[in-house]
Amino acid sequence: MPWRRTRLSFLFFSLFMCSCMIILSIIGTLAPAESVLAAPLNVMVGFADDTSRNLSALADDLSEIQSLRERNRELEAAWASAQAELVELREYRADYNRLSELLNYDAPARNQVTVAADVIQSYDPSAVLRTITINRGTRDGISEGMAVVTDQGMVGRIIDVTALASRVLLVTDPSSSISGRLQESREPGNVVGLLTGGLRMRDIPLDAEVSEGELVVTSGLGGNLPPDLEIGIVTSRRQFEFEITQEAEIRSLIDFDNLEIVLIITNFEPIDLTSFDDEEES
């Protein structure tokens, strides 16, 4: 064939084909093919990931028996002291329930319907993106934009769905931006991911009281996510003289590298606010 005669034309032809593939993938034309091809890969990677985790856990257990015994003693002591606090918190809950009934108010968190999913791939091979793959897809009622959580808080959002699997953009990805709120002071801010795996809350009002250890939750502003999902705790804050807002470093309670099971909130309907923008424009 003529195009194979010269190395340069072969290079340009290959790069052209590759560029076409990238463009078709971005606009979604390749989505059905990607879905079909990714299905067996996901199964194989899921199986290999499971085996690797089990072997790794076994090796860790064997090497950490002594430290685990010590840790067990510490946890038993902590558990005993936490009992008193638990009793007190139960009292508060009872009070809260009574007051809620009086106000005819239901916290959104109570009505959440969730679907449990196994993490079948805990690492994005590109290394610069922070995503995980879970074994639930459109067949289980999963759709793009749904929030993914664990009992320790917010994990991320669904960005890509196939019939049997979904990809979750972690809150720690630099592309992720969530509207958050400091739980005690109720001050708002934007929580963005960092490449280093951490979180940063930006745009906190300058006069806001930000204290270390304060919990950060989703605000629900923007209508994309349910409110009051835990994001993390404040570890430090910083404020520059020349800026009109302040920032806080956040640490999530979730170990994103070792996620095994997550919950997808399926009954929250994101509110599309773009229609207001369209009205303004027209």
């Binding site: 790069l15 390749l30 890969l41 592309s175 960092l194």
Partner: protein, 168 residues
């Protein structure tokens, strides 16, 4: 034969990439096994084979990633063409040449990937990414190219006795 071997070899590489590499990460980077396998194979194979390996390996990698399909292929194609060009100029691949190919190839592949991801709308902090991901990946790739090259060279010798240099 090399084209048929690409699927099982790169399948193993991509499974290891998705399961074992996360456990040995240094900062945010780890060995890029698909790139190493493609480079090691391309050095002693025909250019067409290298291109097929780039496409298969890159597509496998991108199918398991949030990146658009083809993102990883782009940089690997440039590297394979470069390696093929160098391979045709020298009698045998030496220690320095292999190291140099990995050094330049890793930088080209990673930078082209970040470029495509930026175009696709992902947020890439270039300065942080270079130090946090590219540098560790480079170190790992330089260390692992020797065993990968040695294993794949053995497979090549076993399966492809008749080398053709139609493009060289």
């Amino acid at each position: 034969m090399g084209n048929f071997l690409a699927i099982p070899i790169l399948l193993i590489a991509v499974i290891l990439q998705a399961t074992v590499v996360p456990q040995v990460r240094l900062l945010g980077g780890g060995p890029d096994l698909i790139f190493l396998a493609t480079l090691a194979w391309s050095i002693n194979a025909r250019l067409e084979e290298g291109v097929v390996w780039s496409f298969i390996g890159g597509i496998f990698q991108d199918l398991l990633s949030a990146a658009p399909t083809g993102t990883s292929v782009f940089g690997m194609l440039i590297v394979v063409f470069g390696v093929s060009g160098i391979g045709s100029q020298v009698y045998r691949i030496g220690f320095l040449l292999l190291g140099g190919s990995v050094l330049v190839g890793t930088i080209v592949k990673q930078l082209s990937m970040y470029f495509v991801l930026t175009l696709a709308g992902f947020s890439i902090d270039w300065l942080v990414t270079l130090g946090y991901v590219l540098l560790p990946t480079l170190i790992y790739n330089l260390a692992l190219i020797w065993p990968v090259y040695w294993i794949l060279r053995g497979i090549q010798r076993r399966f492809s006795s008749n080398r053709s240099f139609s493009m060289r």
